[in-house]
């Protein structure tokens, strides 16, 4: 294990300070070729004319009748319904002890709270104007919201949904001052520590491994920061195996290295590998050396993934299934993973939810919920970002594109056509 130090950050490439420097000093600077934007770094000259660009999710409300529920496909015996909607940009989910579902967002800067009364869901905005409050975690009555530049704690939030009173805990939590890939995933582990992922501030580049490209944990008061996984490009989802209590996480592969990948990863932090190195930026997926950022023996000492999760698929939120509703042989103690879908690929890929069947240190991936993408027309209408198990064993799936939450349940009955 290694402590995180913030004293000597290698920040030259960080957008936050970079922009500040640029603002104060650029007037006198000689004209020079500027670096490409972070998401475009590493693009080979052969792709310079590529029109691929990230898809922006709508920030407006999608009316219920525009949600194409009938297109969704789940395995026989399962059914999908719209559980809540009207929350633009809905992404990461955390559930309160009293049943409130909290939902984080990125660009629209809001945190939603959904309450369930007599089978009807209502939502409130409990925070707004934040810079990408994607990190959402709940413990002992308190909600933790981790934005890019701020960490807030809402004590006793479920009794104060109409008058939330956040405490700014940014100073204690110590967030690094960069923007790109710095929206956080957050969760509280079985060790009662706050885990946060901090992405690399680029598509692919050398990074300060003590600050970026990692998953870290700390006590809930912010003390004792430890790195749990290094060499992680950008993880936006993790959970703990119900039996081994080991951390498993998704990680997004680099862009601009072709349609084939390198693929996204599902990784396992074995009990004896806490603080281990997962390869970024030198070694990707099942041992592919990076074509741009090179070192001798690129994959030496790298923990390779338990499974790859497809090229540019954007595998994000994941949870292990521990409920009793879904057929146990297939689902119990296996992971369900949302794939938001590709942008850096000529033919779209992902836009679905998959099942990762865990077998020791490895996993195999099968489809679970599809139909957001039409492979014939290459058009998509939804983008699943996170999954969350409910007390009855049903799974919720968030759809950022439509600001909706779906409920997937198992009835055992095959619907007649």
């Amino acid at each position: 294990m290694q402590s995180v130090r913030f004293s000597a950050p290698k920040l030259a490439a960080g957008i936050g300070l970079g922009a500040l420097l640029a603002a104060t000093a650029a007037f006198e600077l000689q004209a020079q070729t500027p670096p490409p934007p972070a998401w475009k770094q590493g693009m080979p000259p052969s792709m310079a004319d590529s029109k691929l660009a990230p898809h922006a999710s709508p920030m407006t409300v999608t009316p219920l009748d525009k949600i194409q529920l009938s297109k969704l496909k789940v395995p026989a015996g399962f059914k999908v319904e719209v559980w809540a909607h009207g929350m633009p940009g809905a992404r990461m989910m955390a559930r309160g002890d009293k049943g409130t579902l909290f939902i984080g967002t990125r660009v629209i800067g809001k945190v939603y709270a959904v309450t369930d009364k007599d089978g009807k869901r209502e939502h409130k905005v409990i925070a707004e104007g934040l810079q990408q409050p994607n990190g959402i975690a709940f413990k002992s009555g308190n909600l933790y919201v981790i934005a890019i530049d701020k960490a807030l704690r809402f004590d006793g939030i479920e009794d104060k949904l109409d008058a939330p009173q956040p405490t700014d805990i940014s100073e204690a939590i110590k967030l690094p001052p960069s923007t790109h890939h710095n929206w956080k995933f957050a969760a509280i582990g079985p060790d009662n520590k706050l885990y946060i992922s901090i992405g690399s501030p680029c598509n692919v580049c050398e990074i300060n491994t003590g600050m970026h490209g990692l998953i870290r944990r700390q006590n809930l008061d912010g003390s004792n920061i430890e790195i749990v996984a290094r060499g992680v490009r950008n993880s936006v989802g993790f959970d703990w195996h119900p039996q081994t209590k080991e951390l498993w996480f998704t990680d997004n592969g680099r862009d601009w290295a072709g349609d084939a990948g390198p693929e996204e990863e599902l990784n396992r932090v074995a009990a004896n590998n806490v603080g281990g190195f997962f390869g970024f930026p030198y070694c990707h997926a099942n041992g592919i050396p990076d074509p741009d950022i090179k070192r001798p023996n690129a994959c030496a000492g790298v923990t390779l993934p338990a499974a790859t999760l497809g090229p540019h698929a954007a595998a994000l939120g994941m949870r292990f299934y521990t409920g009793n509703m879904f057929p146990a042989a297939e689902y119990k103690n296996n992971a369900i993973i949302a794939r938001r879908g590709s942008w850096n690929r000529t033919k779209k890929f992902g836009y679905d939810v998959v099942l990762a069947k865990i077998n020791g240190a490895k996993a195999t991936i099968t489809p679970f919920m599809t139909g957001f993408l039409d492979p014939q027309t290459d058009a998509f209408w939804g983008r699943p970002v996170d999954v969350m198990q409910m007390p009855d064993g049903a799974m919720l799936v968030s759809d950022e594109q439509n600001g909706a939450i779906y409920r997937v349940s198992y009835t055992g009955k095959v619907a007649s056509q």
Binding site: L20, P34, A38, K40, D49, M59, T60, V107, I108
Partner: protein, 200 residues
């Protein structure tokens, strides 16, 4: 920057109109069309056909619908800060925003009346090519989806926007433009703006 007096005048004007609008007994919940009084209001600064004649006020004509929608929401949520726009964007419903975006996206962009420095514009053309502006904003700079039209935009507005992206005081729906503008000089920003204003 707006000078102080102009800013204050504009603010007073904006507040008065916004108050009048919110008092108006209009039902806009699912407005497919934007009411005339609102269009007149927007047109005061952005030009009645969406082509601005006012210093540092952007032209909206022909901008991609998603870009307009996103920017109005960023103003409404105070994630894009503008004293001039704040009173207008405050309280707009999604339906009102979608209708405004649809309206301005359909209008025809006209060249800005500002004088163009042709030598600067020629240098800007070269820079725009080197900086791959066209890979997102398209080779004819008409924009698409969340990425704005740059062609025929006002020079003074483009300069102000690019400086704001460079300084990190403005974000898009992501931080791409902050990365693009990292360490770009004032002179290069001027060249880009003069070039983009001349693109047909």
């Amino acid at each position: 920057m707006l000078d102080c007096m102009r800013r204050r005048r504009l603010q007073a004007f904006a507040l008065a109109i916004a108050a009048a609008l919110s008092a108006a007994p209009t039902s806009l919940a699912r407005a497919a069309e934007v009411p005339q009084e609102r269009l007149q209001l927007c047109g005061t600064c952005h030009g009645e056909n969406g082509n601005s004649k006012m210093e540092k006020m952007p032209s909206l004509a022909g901008q991609p619908e998603l870009f307009l929608t996103n920017q109005l929401i960023l103003f409404r949520e105070r994630l894009r800060k503008s004293e001039a726009m704040e009173p207008f964007a405050k309280g707009l419903t999604d339906a009102e925003i979608l209708a405004l975006a649809a309206h301005y996206a359909k209008l025809t962009p006209e060249p800005s009346p500002e004088p163009v420095d042709q030598a600067l514009a020629a240098r800007g053309a070269e820079l725009a090519r080197k900086m791959f502006c066209g890979s997102c904003h398209l080779p004819d700079y008409v924009g698409r989806e969340q990425m704005p039209r740059l062609a025929r935009q006002r020079i003074d507005y483009t300069i102000e926007s690019l400086i704001a992206y460079r300084a990190g005081t403005r974000y898009g729906v992501d931080t791409s433009m902050n990365g693009v503008m990292y360490e770009v000089s004032d002179q290069d920003i001027r060249a880009l703006a003069h070039f983009l204003a001349t693109v047909r």
